[in-house]
């Protein structure tokens, strides 16, 4: 049943005004567009369209895949080896290198700061010969597809602020996550799935790992429809997705039809446009009941594909299983897919923990990149392999003690990107001989955010949302620059 013409007409009218509202009404009051508490805008919002005027220019990537390594991945051990680390092994880090920058409370009281070289040997990989640890043999094979940024930096040195910063652009809670911004700006391309999906896995390196928070995929001040929807292992992948026991799908359909009928009748009488958005939301929920199980059913994946991701892929909830789901989500044009893999916080026993942690992610990550490539998805999917900070080149604890680890290091660390918009097979930025300070092309995490948005065709400076009097951006109030040197 359709809404009666006058109401539908009115609704369209309201909607149009909302989206040109900034200009149409902007003076003498808050523009309609920011009055999201009024019921008007959401009928269209429920359809998942993005902001008017976006993208600002032709995007190189339509989707984003963020493989977030939670806890602080050791750039020293995995990507940033230097001859000096071996020469200087066991010796105190030079004061000129260590400088006066702050350390966390865990190591600030240490009596010595001896340099600890990478755990394992590595290979010079790809045509450009970039060093990657032998702890990541599969990732070594995709060196030509990825762009390794060795000069990322952040001011935060503790997990909570650092991971919140990396994911929302602010160290304090309350801000919108990267994926929420993408959903808000560009909307969805798939009416049967949310635009932003997040998955969490626990690594075998350090178990349990550092906590992650729902705000990392939250919508902050943006409308709640843009928050990341968590996809969980097991029979009920999305919260409340399953019908109650004793309700068949046909019954649910009948129920929804009846509900829609009642809602329409009331919408006609009361003229509340919100009712129509409600009907749409119920329909989307109904479609998700089919689309999500279909998504998580990997029984039709070929044995070759499954094998490529490694044995863990068959175990729901693992990083490997989530990688495969990520590919299936990207195939379905989900705008932003984010994995969080916990357990990278190697303060202690790095020698025992790190190999396990690497093993979790090495094969599946490489397989995912290759799989995306083989299916032609990599060219318009931006892949961001990131973490909240790196780890210190000096040891935490006693040198030679199996319990030794590395502390947090935000001054310089490594992330890598691949896919749509990115030049593969290169390194960008550099650190000093002790991979402690940046010597070339520093990239602040804000610059990374600006670059992600750029690949999506968005000028970060123009993409704002008014909140408490401020035009808030993902990149915050400080300057941010697109990292042009890595763009394809």
């Amino acid at each position: 049943m359709q809404p009666t013409p006058p109401l539908a007409d009115y609704l369209r009218h309201l909607t149009r005004r909302t989206f040109i509202g900034q200009a149409a009404r902007g003076i003498g009051g808050v523009a309609l567009g920011s009055l999201l508490s009024s019921s008007i805008a959401r009928a269209v919002e429920a359809k998942g369209k993005g902001r008017p005027g976006l993208p600002h220019f032709a995007p190189k990537a339509k989707r984003v895949l963020c493989l977030f390594q939670s806890g602080g991945l050791s750039h020293v051990d995995l990507f940033d080896d230097k001859p000096m680390l071996h020469k200087h092994a066991g010796l105190e880090i030079p004061a000129s290198i260590k400088g006066t920058q702050r350390l966390t409370g865990m190591t600030s009281g240490q009596s010595a700061y001896p340099v600890v070289p990478p755990l394992k040997t590595g290979q010079l990989c790809g045509k450009h010969g970039t060093w990657i640890s032998d702890l990541l043999p599969h990732i070594q094979t995709i060196a030509d597809d990825i762009c390794i940024i060795k000069s990322l930096h952040t001011e935060a040195i503790n997990h909570d602020p650092a991971i919140t910063y990396m994911n929302t652009g602010n160290q304090l809670p309350g801000y919108a996550s990267m994926g929420a911004w993408a959903s808000y700006g560009l909307g969805t391309e798939n009416e049967n799935l949310p635009a932003f999906i997040a998955m969490v896995s626990q690594g075998t390196g350090k178990n349990p790992g550092q906590p992650v928070f729902s705000r990392l995929w939250g919508s902050g001040f943006l409308p709640a429809s843009h928050q990341g929807v968590g996809l969980r292992p097991g029979a009920n992948p999305v919260l409340y997705l399953d019908n109650p026991p004793g309700i068949e799908r046909t019954q649910r359909r009948a129920q929804l039809d009846d509900l829609a009928k009642l809602n329409h009748q009331r919408a006609d009488e009361l003229g509340d446009p919100e009712t129509l958005a409600r009907i749409d939301a119920y329909e989307m929920a109904f479609r998700m009941q089919t689309s999500v199980p279909e998504l998580t059913d990997i029984s039709k994946e070929s044995p070759a594909t499954l094998d490529a991701y490694g044995p863990e892929v068959r175990k729901p909830g693992t990083y490997a299983a989530n990688c495969l789901l990520a590919r299936r989500l990207l195939e379905r044009d989900v705008r932003f897919v984010q994995l969080f893999h916990r357990g990278w916080d190697q303060h202690i026993a790095i020698g025992r923990q790190l190999p396990n942690q690497c093993h979790d992610i090495d094969q599946p990550t490489a397989a995912l990149i290759k799989d995306l490539k083989a299916r032609g998805l990599l060219e318009d999917t931006l892949v961001v392999f990131a973490t909240e900070f790196g780890r210190t080149v000096f040891g935490q604890g006693k040198l030679g003690d199996p319990a030794m680890g590395r502390d947090h290091h935000g001054r310089a660390f490594t992330v890598w990107l691949a896919g749509g918009g990115i030049k593969g097979g290169m390194e960008y930025g550099a650190t000093d001989d002790f991979c402690y300070n940046i010597t070339e092309n520093p990239v602040h995490l804000r610059d990374l955010h600006a670059t992600i948005l750029h690949c999506l065709g968005i000028d970060h400076a123009k993409f704002t949302h008014k909140f408490r009097g401020l035009n808030v951006r993902l990149t915050g109030v400080e300057e941010a620059h697109v990292v042009r040197g890595i763009l394809a």
């Binding site: 902007g26 009055l35 009024s38 909570d160 809670p173 928070f213 709640a224 019908n243």
Partner: protein, 1047 residues
């Protein structure tokens, strides 16, 4: 009127003007005859000029400042005058605005002016460039009522005057039931009952409606509803928010808020108590609980976090939250720089922060080996977050009384057993053996000679023989390490044993917290008991409960553990009396000849301990009373009390009635859980020496070059108060200034937010920003009138709410008025009410209330845990969290009592837009998402509610037919009659459902099993199918948009 933005020919002549074309395309635009600064110009300037030409000196360009008229009229360095009132051609800003090549604002700002904005600026200068003080900061004076206002509610006079300007009138009053549902939901968060609808309907016109309003305002549920509003502002939560997001104990603060609204506490008093209750003369416990407000900032325990960084965060958060709550202002911007749009200076930010520098707190609420925290020695992630006070909780006291009565009744009933002939033999035999035991061991505790050994990984360490003192106490020379245990073998006489006693003899001197490791500081003694047969085989002795005469508290997940069963932390400093702990066995064990009692002690301790055993149990461990027993056993004629003691001891020592023994154990545990009706709550404690507060350059806490500032009220608001070197202002001074009649902003901010509660949008829609970047109120005089009335009425909240909800503006119908689509698409003129989707808590309350399942028995109390999907807290660590849903009546308490986990808010709350309350949340977004649909359809809370709703309908003795059930369902859920179309559609629906479940009865059974509420008392044994069918119909109704909306 029409205005054509024609350019004076003179302007063309100016060399720096880009050219003619800039004006050639100027179209006709609507402009007001009289341009007003606040309404027309300030929003433009704030949005496009102030960033570079506003209050912030550091980002000011070309030395040009436009927010102050005097400055804007001065010649700049380049010898041009920005604004020459009345002279457009001489005014540089006008020229620059119309500059075609390099227009202001510059392109890089991405904020080009529209033609209309340009024209407005020009006309404003033409008309003399008159500035007005920002509306929110201007002195608050009660405005006169509009000319020609009729008698009656002044709110209507203001609203109708505005409508009249557009030749509009209010909508007619909403139909009676709709209005009663609206006002019930708005004032109590609950819909009206059919009875209330019937009663309210009788004399609705005239005084009837007002009577209904007064009834609702005096309901205890009014406070629960209003608390939801304030708790968002106060950022009330059950957890600390950062990192491990551990629990904090502060529910009494929520009770305080509920009670304050119910008692209609004056808002000025409410303010004083929360900000500075501890500084009032002789503060009451209630006033101290209120100061929990200052402690509701997020806190951390993250390892490695630097205390100073977090102290800076806590300080800054308080400024943001206090300024948001009481000023509706965005002070946050001024943490790093002078505000770009409002006259808030960085110094204002830190001066406001300085008021709170006396709040006792720690940057990191934990004790780490690498960053010692002697004041919090032993504190880990399981500990609470001090300072706290212990206060009585009426809710817990009520439950305690009920639990105590239940236990008492059980004990009384149990005594009949002694008179039961079937048990007479055992009863007599026990008395005989008890007498014999006490004759042999008059002290009542047998103290067999111990043999001790040191175990490592469960193996005896050869050569390491623990010390046994002549008094029979055992100790080790070195503290037990992890994996080590002290094994003590006791050979009591064969026979029954019901309890183990441990006497501990710690050294008189407490360990130095400066040198203690956290593990050591938190160390506790744990005791495990087993019986060892001659064969060497051991059987574990389960313990029912253990407690000591003195102990330091131990915690799990922020809650104090009961007893010492999970570990006995010896008190420091050591008390004068000897330390005694007693372990009551879970039913007696009987030692055969040759069997020994094996005690395994773990925990980092060197304290000598002496062990003894007893055949006597008791209700509580320390109640084992051999002397009284001996007297009773040997009395010629035992008194009633002595006889009761004997019977109780018999039952508790022998578990003669095993089921009764177990039930007793459960009831005693229930009673303990209520902690004698007392609980803890975070409070503000003032330290003697407030921390120095510096202006932090760019907000950098590591930069100590900024000046130290003292408390002062914001410089841009009237009646400023500043500290002097002699007199430092306090939080109380701040609070008093906030509620002083001279402060114009608080009354405005609070009334604006209150309006939102009843109309869905504030008079100024940006309720969280009353600054330049916010919105001029749609009805500025009305807002000022409300604010004045609020202040002058003695900050009387109920008075203001009563005024609002009895106005015709509030009472009008909410139907859409399509004829207003052009004049007022967002309904800011209020020619009709706005429908409002219920807030998360009330979506829940409403469904449960309609189902007849909402537990409204008590007001206040600890947070409750409704059903939540398994594994939802999996990513939450330090410590690991397991969510256990409430299993008793607490499962169906109101949403306001739901456990508020900041990092993982209950998905039902989160899906319906409840904020995580990390900081002050004045404005909830209202979304409409598939997640909401899934929640209402499938969350067990709502499925169960539908089942209970259906049972309620079918159990109604008055109703027999489908039609009757449907009518009742509509009355309950929607306060109205179903339409004919609804009837026919639902009648068809119920028929299909019946058919479905007749074909699949097993499905009906499955559906009816959802939820903990027992299958209803309705007689439906024969017809579970009918209940299932109606459950589905009720699910449809509970999911209807109308049900979760108040019209």
């Amino acid at each position: 009127m029409r205005f054509r933005s024609l350019l004076s020919p003179l302007v063309y002549g100016l060399p720096w003007l880009g050219g003619v074309a800039a004006f050639a395309g100027a179209a006709e635009v609507d402009l007001p005859a009289k341009v007003e600064f606040n309404r027309d110009i300030r929003p433009i300037m704030s949005d496009t000029c102030f960033h570079c030409h506003g209050p912030d000196a550091t980002s000011r360009e070309a030395g040009l400042r436009l927010d102050l008229r005097d400055e804007a009229l001065k010649k700049t360095k380049s010898d041009l005058v920005p604004i020459v009132p009345g002279n457009v051609t001489e005014s540089e800003i006008i020229a620059r605005i119309f500059d075609r090549d390099e227009p202001m604002p510059p392109a890089k700002a991405h904020k080009p002016l529209t033609e209309r904005q340009q024209a407005l600026m020009k006309r404003w200068v033409e008309q003399g460039a008159v500035y007005e003080p920002h509306w929110a900061y201007a002195p608050l004076q009660r405005p006169a009522l509009p000319v020609g206002a009729k008698k009656g509610n002044p709110i209507d006079a203001f609203v109708e005057a505005k409508l009249a300007e557009k030749k509009l009138t209010l909508s007619p009053e909403a139909p009676r039931n709709r209005l009663l549902r609206r006002v019930s939901l708005d004032l109590t968060g609950l819909p009206p009952t059919p009875e209330e609808l019937a009663a309210g309907g009788r004399n609705f016109f005239g005084n009837g409606y007002v009577k209904q309003v007064d009834r609702l305002l005096s309901s205890a549920h009014y406070g629960e509803r209003m608390a939801v509003w304030w708790l968002d502002i106060a950022r009330f939560a059950d957890t600390v928010g950062f990192h491990g997001d551990q629990n904090q104990r502060i529910f009494p603060y929520r009770d305080y808020v509920i009670n304050a609204f119910n008692a209609n506490k004056r808002f000025d008093q409410f303010t004083l108590e929360q900000l500075a209750g501890d500084l009032l003369p002789n503060p009451t416990p209630e006033q101290l609980v209120a100061t929990g407000y200052n402690r509701l900032n997020m806190m951390t325990r993250e390892g490695g976090a630097q205390p100073k960084e977090y102290l800076a965060k806590y300080g800054a958060e308080r400024v943001r939250s206090v300024s948001a709550a009481w000023f509706g202002s965005t002070f946050g911007c001024a943490e790093c720089h002078d505000h770009k749009f409002d006259p808030i200076k960085t110094r204002d930010f830190y001066e406001l922060q300085s008021f709170f520098a006396d709040v006792k707190q720690w940057g990191v609420y934990s004790d780490y080996t690498y960053t010692k925290n002697p004041e919090l020695a032993g504190f880990n992630n399981d500990y609470p977050v001090p300072p706290e006070i212990e206060v009585p909780s009426p809710y817990l006291a009520g439950r305690r009384d009920r639990a105590a009565a239940e236990l008492n009744a059980h004990v009384l009933a149990g005594r009949a057993r002694a008179a039961d002939p079937a048990a007479a033999g055992r009863w007599a035999a026990w008395q005989e053996s008890a007498r014999a035991f006490l004759a042999r061991v008059p002290a009542g505790w047998e103290q067999p000679a111990p043999v001790a050994a040191l175990l490592r990984a469960n193996k005896t360490v050869p050569g390491a023989s623990p010390l046994v003192t002549p008094e029979g106490a055992v100790s080790t020379a070195k503290a037990l390490a992890r994996g080590e245990a002290l094994r003590v073998t006791l050979p009591p006489e064969p026979g029954p044993l019901a309890a183990l006693r441990v006497e501990a003899f710690p050294p008189a001197e407490a360990p130095n917290p400066e040198t203690l490791t956290r593990a050591r500081a938190a160390a506790a003694i744990t005791v495990a008991v087993a019986v060892r047969a001659a064969s060497g085989k051991e059987r574990k002795v389960p313990v029912a409960f253990a407690d000591a005469n003195a102990k330091d508290p131990r915690y799990r997940d922020g809650a104090e553990l009961h007893g010492i069963g999970a570990g006995w932390k010896l008190p420091a400093p050591r008390p004068a009396e000897p330390l005694v702990g007693v372990w009551l066995f879970d039913g007696p064990v009987t030692l055969a000849s040759g069997e020994t009692l094996e005690i395994t002690v773990t925990g980092e301790t060197t304290v000598p301990m002496r062990f003894s055993t007893s055949p006597f149990g008791a209700a509580r461990p320390l109640d084992v009373a051999p002397a009284a027993l001996a007297a009773a056993l040997t009395a010629k004629k035992p008194s009633a009390g002595q006889r009761a003691l004997l019977v109780d001891t018999w039952l508790l020592s022998t578990a003669d009635d095993r089921a009764g023994f177990d039930h007793h154990k459960q009831l005693a545990a229930n009673l303990r859980e209520l902690r004698d009706g007392r609980t803890w709550s975070l409070i503000t404690q003032a330290v003697a020496e407030p921390l120095p507060v510096r202006v932090l350059p760019r907000g950098n806490w590591q930069d100590e070059t900024g000046p130290v500032v003292l408390p002062a009220t914001p410089s841009f608001l009237p009646a400023r108060r500043e500290s002097t070197t002699e007199k430092r202002l306090t939080r109380l001074d701040l609070a008093q200034w906030i509620v002083s009649p001279e402060n114009p902003i608080t009354a405005r901010a609070v009334m604006n937010r209150l309006w939102l509660q009843f109309f869905g949008v504030g008079l100024s829609a940006a309720v969280d920003d009353l600054g330049s970047q916010g919105e001029l109120p749609s009805h500025p005089e009305l807002l000022d009138w409300l604010a004045s009335e609020f202040r002058d009425s003695g900050w009387d909240m109920k008075h203001m709410i009563r005024l609002i909800v009895t106005s015709r503006t509030y009472r009008q119908d909410s139907n859409l008025r399509p004829e207003l689509r052009d004049t007022d698409p967002a309904n800011r003129l209020l020619a009709s009410q706005n429908p409002r989707r219920l807030e998360a808590e009330f979506v829940r309350d409403n469904a449960l209330f309609v189902a007849g399942a909402l537990n409204l028995a008590d007001i206040g109390g600890p947070s409750v845990k409704p059903y939540q999907p398994d594994g939802y807290y999996d990513a939450l660590q330090f410590p690991d969290r397991k969510y256990v849903a409430s299993t008793d009546g607490e499962q169906w308490r109101r949403g306001v009592y739901m456990h508020w986990q900041r990092t993982f808010l209950h998905p039902m709350l989160a899906n319906f837009d409840a904020p995580s309350r990390d900081e002050c949340a004045a404005l909830r977004t209202v979304s409409n998402t598939p997640q909401q649909a899934l929640t209402l359809l499938n969350d067990p809370t709502f499925v169960e509610a539908a089942r209970l709703f259906a049972a309620r309908l079918l159990g109604d003795p008055q109703a027999k037919t489908d039609v009757q059930h449907l009518r009742r369902a509509y009355q309950l859920a929607l306060a109205r009659e179903p339409s004919a179309a609804e009837f026919s559609s639902l009648a068809k629906f119920i028929a299909t459902q019946r058919a479905t479940y007749r074909a699949n009865p097993a499905d009906a059974e499955k559906l009816l099993k959802v939820g903990l509420a027992p299958r209803t008392p309705v007689k439906l044994d024969a017809d579970a199918l009918e209940l299932a069918a109606w459950t589905n119909l009720c699910r449809v109704l509970l999911n209807a948009h109308e049900t979760i909306t108040r019209y």
